[in-house]
Amino acid sequence: MYQGKARVCGSSNTENIRMNDSQIIWNGKRYKDDEISWQSPVTGTVYGTIFNFKEQLDAMNSKFKQEPYQAEPNRPILYVKPRNTINAHLHEVQLPSDVKEVQINATLGIVIGRNATNISEQEALNYVEGYTVVNDVTVPHDNFYRPNIKNKVRDGFCPVGPWIMEKREVPNPEQLMVWTFINDELVQVQNLNDLVRPIPKLLADVTEFMTLFKGDMLLVGVPHNPPTATAGDTVRIEIDQIGCLENTFVADVGGGRL
């Protein structure tokens, strides 16, 4: 069994769980995956990173020197997935009426375990609680200069989970693969050894200018040429040794939650 943390059935804090391929043990009882009402195991601020997979960086290379970019990115380029976007395993993702298809940005989330300010690469992993699976759902756009936040911040556009796999269970996260399935068809494979800034370097370069607090999450990057999904599709993202995040996309019929 592996050791992790999850938020289940309305709990406000994460709780310890143990799991293997077929069952989850929570509070001394055994459950199947779909018997649990999952919530996002992450409740802090979620920061995403772009241009941190070499394939994406290489593909953009000819554009970096042109207008409006003028130069290659230097520091990590980050964005925020605000709290209204946070969604959970086996919950629906609603596509607003103006959005017909979305990119499925399957990625690894680094969950912070201790407040981290200006930490070094060497000590960076001491500040990591564990890892989880994230789908940074995004409205397709090809302008990185000043992209409209509308592309990233719709309600429910950041499924996270099912759980945080504790760091000690994942000794080499950069040797793992991210597998994306849409309606059970494998549509993308991303190797986490393709990072421009490996996890310790990314944490050091980000915390050089901004504190990551306990409970915050930093996404390692978004893959090049992500697949797209539309209403009716079921998306499953698996990361070896971490977990499997599944969500069904539906059309928003109500025009908002209220």
């Binding site: 380029i77 976007t85 300010t117 939650r257």
Partner: protein
């Protein structure tokens, strides 16, 4: 009513301004210079507006946008009244931005302009500093420019909306070492508060304690280590901040 969050007597307290002093929730009264001021709101999502005053847009050579230019900041950047903001060594251009901050009072989705103020709890002052040396042309303004620790003083108080009948006609002023450097009025915003609430809530749900920093007028100038910067908004408050160097942070 003016509400603050302060540290004093060994604890963190909600406090209200009473006759120039602060009264804590437990009844104690304390001088306002005897407390540590914290950000007056435990902020949820923090939105900031770029180029939301036409005069500032032309000042940094942009034309005013057709649609609000919104970016999102993290809570790490926030700092209370009387705080210290770090100016990294070697930086050439760091400027303040005096901004009216709108505090959302309750969940808001698909709100029309006519009802937008029902979703406002109150207002405070923010100084949304930028360090332009770190500007890169990706996801502008990139977080290294705007989301650094200590870069966004906010406060001193949240003033409830009932005390501010017209937030769209308030003077904003910034003083550096006592000298007036920036002056404007919220009436010159390109997109006003009701517009911004309708706009944001048209594509996402806003929640209680989300904060909208509504942009800054012209008059931003470089500030240096040792400068005292006071950003003030009529009827809301005067937010004081001091620029310090890397040595204070042992960097």
């Amino acid at each position: 009513m003016k509400q603050a969050r302060v540290a004093c007597f060994g604890g963190i307290h909600d406090a209200w301004e009473v006759e120039g002093k602060l009264q804590l929730r437990d009844g104690r009264i304390v001088d306002s210079d005897a407390v540590i001021w914290l950000p007056p709101v435990e902020a949820g999502t923090i939105f900031a507006l770029g180029l939301n005053y036409a005069d500032h847009a032309s000042e940094i050579s942009f034309k005013a946008p057709d649609e609000p230019l919104v970016f999102i900041k993290g809570p790490n950047s926030l700092l209370g009244h009387n705080g210290q903001t770090r100016r990294p060594s070697g930086v050439e251009t760091m400027h303040y931005e005096c901004e009216l901050a709108v505090i959302i009072g309750k969940e808001a989705r698909n709100i029309k302009q006519a009802e937008a103020y029902e979703y406002v709890a109150g207002y405070t002052v923010a100084n949304d500093y930028a360090i332009r040396d770190y500007l890169e042309n990706y996801y502008r303004p990139n977080l290294a420019v705007k989301n650094r620790d200590t870069l966004t003083p906010i406060g001193p108080y949240v003033v409830d909306k009932e005390s501010i009948p017209n937030p769209m006609n308030l003077f904003l002023r910034t003083y550096v070492n006592g000298e007036l450097k920036q002056e404007g009025s919220t009436k010159d915003m390109v997109f006003d508060i009701p517009y911004l609430i309708e706009y944001l809530s048209s594509f996402m749900t806003l929640h209680e304690n989300d904060v909208i920093l509504t942009g800054t007028p012209k008059g931003t100038v470089n500030v240096r280590e040792g400068d005292e910067v006071v950003t003030e908004i009529e009827g809301i408050g005067a937010l004081r901040n001091t620029i310090v160097g890397d040595h204070v942070f042992n960097r």
